[in-house]
Amino acid sequence: MAESPHLLHRLYEIQQKHRYIPDESIGEVADQFGLPISQVRAVVDFYAFFYTSPRGDYHILFSNCTSCGYQARGVDLLQLLSQQLGVSVNQTRADGRVSVHETSCIGLCDHGASLLINGIPLVRLDPAGIWQMVGLIESGKPLTEWPQAWFHIDNTLHKRGLLLETDLSPGEGLQALLARGWEEILAEIVQSKLRGRGGAGFNTGLKWRLCKEAVAEARYVVCNADEGEPGTFKDRMLLQQYADTLFEGMTICAHIIGAREGYVYLRGEYRYLLPHLQTILARRRQTSLLGKSILAKTGFDFDIEIVVGAGAYICGEESALIESLEGKPGIPRSRPPFPVTQGYLGQPTVVNNVETFIAAAHIAYKGGAWFSSVGTVESAGSKLLSISGDCAAPGIYEYPFGVTLQQILQDCGADNVQAVQVGGPSGILIDQSAFHRRIGFEDVSTGGSLMVFSDQRDVLDIIYQFAAFFAHESCGFCTPCRVGTTLLKQNLYKIVTNQGTRYDMAELQHTSELVRRYSHCGLGHTAANPILDGLQSFPQFFERRLIQRDFSPHFNLDAALEEARRMTQRDDVDAHLEQDIE
């Protein structure tokens, strides 16, 4: 099925054809969509997966995530790959054969070092695999002739709980809805105490009610499938195996709030899931679970469109996601007004994530009491966790809320654990002394990412990677986040490379607090979390890399003279400054 005529899709199509987006096309697209050329240009500029110069026949995006990234057991696979191919990272080889880029987490953290090649995931890489890949690329073999095991993704579901242990057949939730009426089903959802599974935990029933009550011409249902938090991959599994239940949840929501159109905003990294999702949508249309007069109920008209993003973590923020749906750069709006009263196209919009809609579909069928019988007082139900990092059994686990970290670590076979990062880089870094803490909105809240770090890891390296992630993903709208995340990355780099002093540690603390307190949106509010947690729980990792001085400049005086040396063609001793290192 053809993709909907969305700006992001049109740009993707052009890029598929030319391997980049030529400047002429920008004007053409602007005309086609009746948009200012500056808007189209801003969109091309904003999303990491749009390019303004040609990429290679083989275009590789190597994950730089701490769990599915190119650092594999001490070997830098990205370096190895680019060296063997004779291409610099983020560039296209002169013959146009190949381009190699790094990218933020691609949600394959349970599959070891992974990359996307022309959009298709390639997993479990090791140095031998890289060598083999280089050979295949040099000989121009099409991907269909590559070892198929490389492309095999298995969703390892280690533990099923409330949601996953029972199946919901397509239509069961909707039939319950039509039999009992929307008021009763909404009451069940309220009674279930279901809260948004994205991490913030807003009450779902309340959100739907507020949306329904808002005066409007139209209302929309939007599913946030922009699972971008490094270390999260449970939505990938849900989209592959439970898409029907997701669409069912969205359709139930649509009937309750009175929406006729719904959107799934799928992260660009998961584009390969699109054919599968389209198939399920088509089947639902055929079986009267979508479309006009759903299940023969006159006036119950609803359909779902999938919009695919193009590489921007910020689009997981609901108002940025809506901007992106509207064909704009993903810049978070000022809130209030919240999307529930003024969302997509300015109309009341429910935005929930994949797991929330799936839970809602089950609740419609099984009732609120069924759901709230599990979990804690504040956090009803269960939570899907994506567990990765240093453990024997990475994969997906569904736990009742209230489970301790200790229990989780035991279940996934993690020994000698030094720390866990719960909720991804924007979450919380927890040391051993706090493994008694519990998953739940009242204690350790998480969208679902849980990364385990053994005592073999250098925590500072991890924190640096997280800082680099945020500097890369900041949308650039507000001063503290735009400038601050880059300063934090630079500041950490200085310490990581053994040039930092006590002064730099104090600076790190100060800038972190500023970014956290003064930024515009959740990205900025959380970007400094790993640093602040690190300074508090793991100061020794910072301290042991400091040079024992109060201050050292950010730039290297001798290196600053390099250009002058080149121009004067001198490189003798006198042309160098002595660096006064102790």
Binding site: D45, S334, F477, C478, T479, V483, Y518, H520
Partner: protein, 248 residues
């Protein structure tokens, strides 16, 4: 019109001030003669909330005064040591992020960014200079765009759309690579319909958009911030009023 007396008051630093329904904290403060530091806000133009200088604390929570509606009974802290220190850091970030050349900039003395730095007691850039490489657009016969000095406040973007009825500028890019672009196929100012009299050509709070050949019409010493502090209310309009509005 009769309103309940308590229903329309907010408190800023222990001073009670009235507000009208629909006013932001910034609007109410300015109307009452209270200065809340701001760079990306300009009275009459839709607020954006990107510079974060106007951050105040409402019941302990930081919010931007320019985008937050005043509501009855808000207790607002504005002129505090902590907030002003943060504002100073934000100002420093704006300085080190671009390539600013105050001593030789045509805008010196009329520049709100510079005046903000004075107001907050900023003595140095503090953070490492970023030295970005940004494009200068001198294509237009009378208007100059020097992105080196742009602080991405988006005032020109909004002024062009909302007041001039054009759409000359936009912000593109992401993170530290965000940049001001011109809404023309060439990306050049000369192909746009901007004119010297446009608000967009006069509103820039730094020396990024300048009218050519008029930079020194007013001698240094007689410029606005040579004679006023930025904390005096209503200077924005003064800057715009005094800007050259005819071709050189």
């Amino acid at each position: 019109m009769v309103t309940e007396p308590e229903a329309s008051l907010i408190t800023i630093d222990n001073q009670k001030i009235p507000f009208k329904h629909g006013q932001t904290i910034m609007d109410a403060a300015l109307a009452a003669g209270i200065y809340i530091p701001h760079l990306c806000h300009f009275p009459g133009i839709t607020p954006h909330g990107n510079c974060k200088h106007c951050t105040v604390e409402v019941n302990g929570k930081p919010v931007t005064a320019c985008t937050t509606l005043a509501t009855t009974g808000q207790k607002i802290r504005n002129d505090t040591v902590e907030l002003n220190e943060a504002r100073k850091s934000l100002t420093q970030m704006l300085f080190i992020e671009g390539n600013h050349i105050c001593p030789s900039c045509e805008k010196t003395g009329n520049c709100p960014l510079q005046a903000m730095a004075y107001h907050l007691g900023m003595l140095e850039g503090h953070y490492p200079q970023q030295h970005p490489v940004r494009e200068v657009d001198a294509s237009h016969p009378t208007i100059m765009l020097d992105r080196d000095r742009c602080i991405l406040c988006s005032l020109c973007v909004r002024a062009s759309r909302e007041v001039d009825g054009k759409n000359v500028f936009a912000i593109a890019g992401r993170g530290i690579d965000a940049r001001l672009i011109v809404n023309t196929p060439s990306g050049k100012l000369i192909d746009s319909d901007i004119e010297v009299g446009d608000l967009a050509a006069k509103i820039c709070p730094v020396g990024a958009i300048l009218i050519k050949e008029r930079g020194y019409d007013v001698p240094i010493g007689q410029r606005i911030f040579d004679q006023h502090r930025i904390s005096e209310i209503g200077l924005e309009n003064e800057i715009v009023k005094r800007a050259p509005s005819d071709d050189p």
